[in-house]
C-alpha cells in the first residue's frame, strides 16, 4: 500500500478530467495537502427521531427501510447557518465533495486533529473501496462534554488515497453508490449474512 502524494494525486485528477478516473468535486488547489485532500462538511444532515425509533434491530430492516421517514429527519442547513451537535449525539452528515475512485485506488477518511481535540468524531467506517462514487457519509458524534456548533463547508475531514495491489475481478457495487448526501443505513447485506 502506498499513499499518494500531492503530485500523484494531481496526476490522477488529470486522468479523471473527462469524467473517469479519480474525481473530487468541487475542489480547489488549496485543499490538496502533501499526501491528503481536505474535505468539507455538506449542507444535509440526518437526525434520528428518537421518539419513533425504539431501537435499531436489523431483523426489522425491512420495516425500517419502508418507514424510513418515521425514523429519520433530513435537515438541510444553508451556508453560514448553524447545526448544533450535542454531547453523545450521533447524526449523519456527508462531505460536500463528491468522490469517484478508480478501480486501483482506495482511500481512508479521517478527522482533522483540530476538530478531534473538541471531541468531534467524523467517521467510524473510514475505508472507501475502489470504484466508489458519491459523497461520503460522515457519522458525526460529539464525544466531548459541551455542544459543538457545526457549519456547512467546515473543513472537518481528510482523504488519504492509496493505490491498491492487484486487479479487481468484479466490481462489487457499493449499496451507497452515487449518493449525493447522507444516507440512512441499509441493512440488506447484514441481514442476508445473518440468515
Amino acid at each position: 500500500m502506498s499513499v499518494l502524494t500531492k503530485n500523484v494525486i494531481l496526476e490522477e485528477l488529470q486522468k479523471g478530467k473527462d469524467g473517469s478516473g479519480l474525481i473530487i468535486t468541487p475542489l480547489k488547489m488549496s485543499q490538496i495537502g502533501k499526501s491528503s485532500v481536505d474535505l468539507h462538511l455538506g449542507n444535509e444532515f440526518i437526525v434520528f427521531r428518537k421518539v419513533s425509533l425504539p431501537c435499531m434491530d436489523i431483523k426489522d430492516a425491512g420495516d425500517i427501510s419502508k418507514n424510513v421517514h418515521k425514523y429519520q429527519e433530513k435537515v438541510r442547513i444553508s451556508d453560514g447557518d448553524k447545526f448544533i451537535l450535542h454531547p453523545s449525539q450521533l447524526v449523519l452528515g456527508a462531505t460536500k465533495e463528491y468522490i469517484a475512485l478508480p478501480d486501483n485506488i482506495s482511500s481512508i477518511i479521517c478527522g482533522r486533529s483540530t476538530w478531534g481535540r473538541t471531541g468531534l468524531i467524523i467517521a467510524t467506517a473510514t475505508q472507501i473501496e475502489p470504484s466508489f462514487k458519491g459523497c461520503v457519509t460522515l457519522e458525526l458524534v460529539n464525544e466531548g462534554e459541551i455542544p459543538l456548533v457545526l457549519y456547512p463547508c467546515l473543513c472537518v475531514a481528510q482523504l488519504i488515497l492509496y493505490r491498491t495491489e492487484g486487479k479487481l475481478s468484479t466490481i462489487d457495487k457499493s449499496q451507497y453508490q452515487f449518493q449525493t448526501g447522507p444516507e440512512f443505513p441499509k441493512f440488506k447485506k447484514d441481514l442476508d449474512r445473518l440468515r
Binding site: 500531492k6 503530485n7 494531481l10 496526476e11 485528477l13 488529470q14 478530467k17 473527462d18 469524467g19 473517469s20 474525481i23 468535486t25 468541487p26 475542489l27 480547489k28 488547489m29 490538496i32 449542507n43 433530513k74 435537515v75 438541510r76 442547513i77 444553508s78 447557518d81 460536500k96 463528491y98 469517484a100 462514487k133 459523497c135 463547508c153 453508490q177 452515487f178 449518493q179 449525493t180
Partner: protein, 462 residues
C-alpha cells in the same frame, strides 16, 4: 349596528391576528433555501404590527353612544384589517409552508432565482411545490397577489426532484414580462379583431343558426361580445406562446424535451375553444418554437456531437430530435387553430405578430446565457461525459498542472447542465431496461441537482 356586533367583530379580528402571528412564528422555525422565505415572514410580521396599531386606533376612537361612529368603525375593522388579512395575507401561509427547504428542490432554487433576476431584475421570487400537476406563477399585477412585491412560482409537488422537468421554469418566469408586448399591440389587435368579426359576423353566427334573429343593437352587442372573447383568446395565445418562446430561446432542446415529457399524458391536438379558454394545443406550441428558435440553430450542436465520446448517447438524442422535427413538420397544430371560428381570428392575429414576438423575446432575454451560446455549447460534451460516469455535471475542468500546481475549472452553466442531462435521458430511455449498468432515473436527477448545488461553491472557489 349594535355595540355587541362591534365587540364580536373586534374579538374575532383579535383572534385572527393572534393566530396569524402564531402561524408565522411556526413558519419562521424551518429552513428556507433562500432569503425570500424569511423576507416574506418579516414583511408579514411588520404588517401584523400595523394591523394591531390600526385596531387599537379604531377601537380607541369609538364613541359608543354615536351609532354612526360605531357603524363606521365596524366597516373600518372589516375593510382595513379583516379582509386584507383573510383574503390576501393568509395565502402566504400556504405558500411559505410549501416553500420550506425540505419541500422544494432546494439545490435548484438559487438557479431559478438567478434566472428570474436576469429576466425581472430587482424583484424577489418565492418557489414552492404545490400538489397539482402544473407549473404556475402569480405576481403583484395579478388578482391573486396584489399588492405584494413578490413573485410566487409553483412546481408540481410529485415531481419535486425531477430536475429535468424544471427546465419549464423558463416558461413561467417569462409570463410577467409578456404584458409589455401585449399592451403594446393590444389596441391595434382589438381593432383588427373587431373588423374581422364584423366582416365575418354572419359566418361566425351561422354556426349558431341565430344571426338573423337579432336586431341591429343586439347584433352590435353580440359583435362586441364576440370581439371580447376573441381578444381574450388572442391574449391567452400570446402569453403562452411568448413564454414558450423564451423558455426555448434559453434552454433550446432541453425546453423542447421538457415540454414533451410534461405533456406526455395530455392530448397533443386539442382545438383551442371556449371550453379550454382557447389554450393553444401542445402540437401548435411545438411548431411555433421549433420553427422560430430551434430549426436554424440545431446545426450548432454538430460540433458538440463530435466531441461526445459515447456515440450511442448522440444517436439517441439525434433520433429524439429527428422525431420532434417530423412531428412539427406535419403542421397539424396550425390546422387545429383554424377549426374554431374565433380561435381562427385570434390565432391569425398572433401569427401576424410572430416576427415582432421573436424580436421581443430575444431582446428581453439578452442578458441570459442561452443554449446556443459558445460557452454553453463548449461545456456540454464534458458534462455528458461526467453524467455517463456517474459524476455530477457541475464543472468543466480546464487545466490541471501538477508541476505548477494549477487546478483551473469553470462552473457549469445551467443551460449546459440541463441539455447534457436531457441528452443522457434520451440514452437512458433506450437503455435502462436492457442494461443494468445504466443508473436509475432518480440517480440521474440527484446528480444533476448536486451539480446545481455545486456551481455556487465552484464560483466562490475561483
Amino acid at each position: 349596528m349594535s355595540n355587541s356586533a362591534l365587540t364580536r367583530i373586534h374579538h374575532q379580528i383579535r383572534i385572527e391576528l393572534h393566530s396569524f402571528r402564531n402561524e408565522l412564528k411556526k413558519l419562521s422555525v424551518p429552513n428556507y433555501p433562500s432569503k425570500t422565505g424569511n423576507a416574506i415572514i418579516k414583511m408579514l410580521t411588520d404588517k401584523l404590527d400595523k394591523y394591531e396599531e390600526t385596531l387599537s386606533r379604531i377601537m380607541g376612537d369609538i364613541e359608543y353612544e354615536d351609532e354612526n361612529i360605531v357603524k363606521q368603525s365596524h366597516e373600518k375593522l372589516i375593510t382595513k384589517i379583516h379582509n386584507p388579512l383573510v383574503k390576501q395575507d393568509v395565502k402566504f401561509l400556504n405558500w411559505l409552508s410549501k416553500a420550506q427547504t425540505k419541500r422544494v428542490p432546494w439545490s435548484f432554487v438559487h438557479c431559478a432565482e438567478e434566472l428570474f433576476q436576469q429576466i425581472i431584475p430587482n424583484h424577489n421570487l418565492l418557489i414552492y411545490c404545490e400538489n397539482q400537476y402544473n407549473y404556475g406563477i402569480c405576481w403583484s399585477e395579478s388578482k391573486t397577489l396584489a399588492p405584494y412585491p413578490y413573485y410566487i412560482l409553483s412546481l408540481p409537488g410529485l415531481h419535486r426532484t425531477n430536475i429535468l422537468w424544471h427546465t419549464l421554469v423558463g416558461h413561467e418566469i417569462f409570463h410577467p414580462r409578456c404584458n409589455e408586448f401585449i399592451d403594446k399591440y393590444n389596441q391595434k389587435v382589438l381593432i383588427n379583431i373587431k373588423n374581422t368579426v364584423t366582416a365575418n359576423y354572419r359566418s361566425i353566427s351561422s354556426t349558431e343558426n341565430s344571426s338573423d334573429l337579432f336586431s341591429d343593437s343586439e347584433k352590435k352587442e353580440r359583435i362586441d361580445n364576440i370581439t371580447n372573447i376573441t381578444h381574450l383568446a388572442w391574449r391567452r395565445a400570446m402569453e403562452e406562446l411568448l413564454s414558450d418562446m423564451a423558455c426555448v430561446e434559453i434552454f433550446g432542446p432541453a425546453a423542447i424535451l421538457a415540454m414533451k415529457a410534461f405533456s406526455a399524458c395530455s392530448p397533443k391536438n386539442d382545438i383551442p375553444e371556449p371550453d379550454n379558454n382557447f389554450y393553444p394545443s401542445w402540437q401548435y406550441r411545438f411548431e411555433i418554437v421549433w420553427d422560430n428558435f430551434i430549426k436554424d440553430n440545431l446545426s450548432k450542436l454538430d460540433d458538440v456531437y463530435s466531441e461526445i465520446r459515447n456515440h450511442d448517447i448522440v444517436r439517441c438524442f439525434k433520433e429524439d430530435m429527428l422525431e420532434n422535427k417530423r412531428l412539427v413538420e406535419k403542421k397539424e397544430g396550425e390546422g387545429l387553430v383554424k377549426k374554431h371560428p374565433l380561435a381562427k381570428i385570434a390565432y391569425q392575429e398572433f401569427h401576424n405578430l410572430i416576427p415582432d414576438a421573436v424580436d421581443f423575446v430575444k431582446d428581453k432575454t439578452q442578458d441570459v446565457l442561452k443554449w446556443h451560446d459558445e460557452k454553453t455549447l463548449s461545456q456540454i460534451p464534458k458534462l455528458v461525459g461526467r453524467l455517463e460516469n456517474g459524476i455530477p455535471p457541475n464543472e468543466s475542468v480546464a487545466e490541471i498542472n501538477e508541476q505548477e500546481g494549477i487546478y483551473k475549472t469553470h462552473p457549469a452553466v445551467i443551460p449546459a447542465i440541463l441539455i447534457s442531462g436531457w441528452m443522457y435521458e434520451t440514452y437512458w430511455q433506450e437503455k435502462f431496461d436492457a442494461d443494468e449498468r445504466v443508473m436509475a432515473y432518480k440517480t440521474l436527477s440527484r446528480l444533476i441537482l448536486k451539480a446545481c448545488e455545486d456551481i455556487q461553491t465552484i464560483e466562490k472557489n475561483q
